[in-house]
Amino acid sequence: MKPAPFAYRRPTTLEEALAVLAESPDAKVLAGGQSLVPLLSMRLAAPALLVDINRLPDLDHVTATADGVRVGALARHADVLASAEARACQPLVALALGNVAHATIRNRGTTVGSLVHADAAAEMPVVLRLLGGSVDVASASGRRTIAADDLFLGPLESSLRPDEIALEAFFPALAPGAGVGFEEVARRHGDYAMCGVAGLVRVAGGRVVEARAGYLSVSDVPTVVDLTDSLADGVTDASLAAAGEAALADLDPQEDIHAAADYRAMLVRHLTGRVLRAAHAHATDERGEPDHA
């Protein structure tokens, strides 16, 4: 298992990188490589050119403001996970990152790279989508911001053009009165999950005014379901179970080598209830820490 031959460039300025990409229709961008290198080794991908962006300046930042968390294209998962400011601003980012592969992979893999890799079995794409985040991308012809809802087109397919580089991801801050939760079930800790759920609950005046859940490894793309109606009359065992059923009505869990469709559906039911309960507890907890941080 060795990659097929490719030309390799390691530009030191963004302009140079974008110019190389503009001239090379069959190029791939290399950042952390934790998903791309296995694809190359298994020859599922065989680009003519690899553009290594690891020497581009000013892309390794993790900054938190009142608006949210901004993550540069070269910030490693481990750096994002270690940022206390990011955790305080939007706890769901760290909650989910703890489930991204293993520490060794997180040392090299980048959060932005994981987003544009657009794997429906990955944690961060569904987190970005649930939070209504976005990704800033650049090409030789200009820059644009892609909303998370427009980013994921299909399995491993994002709406980035081949000549574009993703520069930064934006995860909106936790809103007042909101809480989050995250859980997944994998055969082994750190493996791809058979089902994972990210939840967001917002409470105002003692009532749930927003409840949404995002699902990974259930559909072809990271999918978010609005479950506000199920919890509108309160968070009880019955309403959480109803939320699980409501989620399933919007999802169509598939069978694959890792899990039968029925088992996935059961995971959707159980995890939806658990995650929404945790998110609700977080929303109504004045300490402001997620239940299972």
Binding site: K2, Y8, D52, R108
Partner: protein
């Protein structure tokens, strides 16, 4: 047409090494084939097993998931760099020996590098933290119990200062 070669300079176990490699050469292969450091083992070659784990600038990294050319300018520590200058065992190696933390030994280099860095970050892990430290490495022989014990024993050895940890020596 011959493949284009790239000049790569990296420090491996404290020694500057220069190699010329094609872009597609994995760091694991550069270490084993170009530098003859065969202590780094290649198991699954797609990032799952952890046998090929080395330290790049002090952090554990899968050497099969990194291109050698991307490692240009970095400081790499392989299992060959974990021993004592006098040829004796480093603290993590000593702990594996004492606790019988290996059987066939194929996965061991990846465990040793991972735990060396893990104990630097967290010198006194709890039992659960010790388990978590090695969660990304597969062993098909031991059942892990003795490897977890070795993590805890290595922590003691380093604390006792009986052996000087890799990276601390002059």
């Amino acid at each position: 047409m011959p493949e284009e070669l790239h000049d790569v300079s990296l420090r491996v176990n404290g020694i500057t090494r220069e190699v010329q490699v094609p872009g597609r050469r994995l760091l694991s292969d550069a270490l084993r084939h170009d530098l003859a450091l065969t202590g780094t083992h290649v198991g699954c070659e797609h990032g799952v097993c952890g046998a090929c784990t080395v330290l790049v600038d002090g952090r554990p990294v899968r050497s099969c998931l990194m291109l050698a050319v991307s490692a240009d300018g970095t400081e790499v520590t392989t299992v060959e760099g974990l021993g004592e200058p006098d040829g004796g065992l480093g603290p993590v190696q000593q702990a594996f020996s004492e606790c019988h933390g290996l059987q066939c030994g194929f996965c061991t280099p990846g465990f040793l590098t991972t735990i060396t860095a893990g104990l630097r970050e967290n010198p006194c892990p709890t039992h659960d933290e010790a388990r978590d430290m090695i969660a990304g490495n597969l062993c098909r022989c031991t059942g892990y119990q003795n490897i977890v014990r070795a993590v805890e024993r290595a922590s003691e050895l380093i604390a006792e200062g009986d052996v000087v940890g890799e990276g601390e020596r002059a």
